[in-house]
């Protein structure tokens, strides 16, 4: 691990533990990540017994060299973006731990678990009410959006 920056050291540790003990339904493309620790692709299966059962999604994590002090940029990517009141059709996710409530004690695993639970607690598949407007006007980087967090109970 010599020669790594502090962010890379931490990401390497996270990668090892995620490969070893992945949360249910979550897999990481370890080979890809080893090539570039600052960008991860994670596969996420919709949990059984939820509205997303049988679906699978891809999450992209981008890290800056200030990670973990700076939150990762997390978006859904690929062909299947979950239809959810907090997920915009461009893959941006309205989740407070990804910006205001980020803490360096959180991790890729914690973010994944949080997103799994966000999906699992969904009662009706629909897009956020301002989806069309947001998708047209937002920055590419969801962290540049000033989110007004929706009701956390959904």
């Amino acid at each position: 691990m010599a020669g790594m920056s502090p962010s890379e050291r931490r990401l390497q540790k996270e990668l090892m533990s995620l490969v070893k003990e992945p949360p249910p339904g979550v897999t990481v493309h370890a080979d890809l990540v080893e090539k570039n620790l600052l960008q991860w692709i994670i596969n996420m299966e919709g949990a059984s017994g939820t509205l997303y059962e049988g679906e699978s999604f891809q999450l992209q994590f981008k890290f800056s060299n200030k990670y973990p002090f700076d939150s990762p940029e997390v978006t859904f990517v690929g062909s299947n973006i979950p239809v959810h009141p907090h997920v915009y059709s461009n893959g941006h996710i309205c989740l407070s731990i990804l910006t205001d409530d980020w803490s360096p004690a959180l991790s890729v695993q914690a973010v994944c678990l949080s997103i799994v639970s966000m999906l699992s607690s969904c009662k009706e598949k629909k897009r956020p009410p301002d989806n069309a407007f947001y998708v047209k006007t937002c920055s590419k980087n969801p962290k540049k959006t000033k989110w007004w967090y929706h009701d956390d109970s959904v």
Partner: protein, 194 residues
């Protein structure tokens, strides 16, 4: 470090698939790691160096915690449990092995007090958190509140605050909120005038 007798609650599966190949570096030291994990810094995940512990009992390297406190000077909370935290309220830990008994907090001198706005990347300002006033605003250059359609529904709802109401800590936060609100106003004015 690891004594032979104490392996606290290692509920680890014994016959773990040994290979877990792919991740080239040290898959074998997993066992040691579990034992040491208690003393890992909650931020860098390494064994804490220049260790300090917060009043809420969470362990960090002082350099790591210091950097976090600097990241959000307006909202200093424990990364693990979100309790209020500050430089003066952490306790340095001196293990037997550590020769120098100097306070680790002296080593990374805190930057001068007052609001330094770091010229970082020209992107976003690390959120001005307005605590619990029911008015939340943070902004970055080039970022505008696009989510406001949805937010109008629950505009008045204060977001959950780390400190319970009525406590001195809460009052302090309220006060700080106001201070930062004014700073933000001044800053906007400055932006407009400059």
């Amino acid at each position: 470090m690891s004594s032979s007798t104490s392996t606290p609650s290692s509920s680890k599966k014994l016959n773990e698939p040994n290979g877990s190949s792919g991740s080239g570096s040290g898959a074998t030291d997993g066992e040691e790691k579990k034992e040491d994990r208690t003393f890992e810094c909650n931020i860098c995940l390494d064994t804490a160096r220049d260790a300090v512990v917060s009043m809420c009992g969470h362990l960090f390297c002082w350099p790591c915690l210091h950097q976090w406190l600097e990241t959000r000077p307006s909202r200093q909370v424990c990364p693990v449990c979100k309790a209020a935290i500050s430089k003066d309220k952490v306790v340095p830990l001196y293990g037997r092995g550590s020769t120098k008994q100097e306070d680790p907090r002296e080593k990374v001198p805190p930057r001068p007090a007052g609001q330094r706005t770091e010229p970082e990347n020209g992107s976003a300002f690390p959120g001005f958190g307005f605590g619990d006033t029911g008015f939340h605003m943070s902004f970055g250059i080039g970022a505008f509140p696009f989510g406001f359609f949805t937010s109008t529904f629950n505009f008045g709802d204060p977001r959950p605050s780390p400190a319970p109401r009525g406590t001195p800590q809460h009052m302090e936060e309220q006060f700080l909120s106001k201070v930062f609100l004014w700073l933000a106003v001044l800053f906007i004015a400055w932006l407009l005038l400059a």
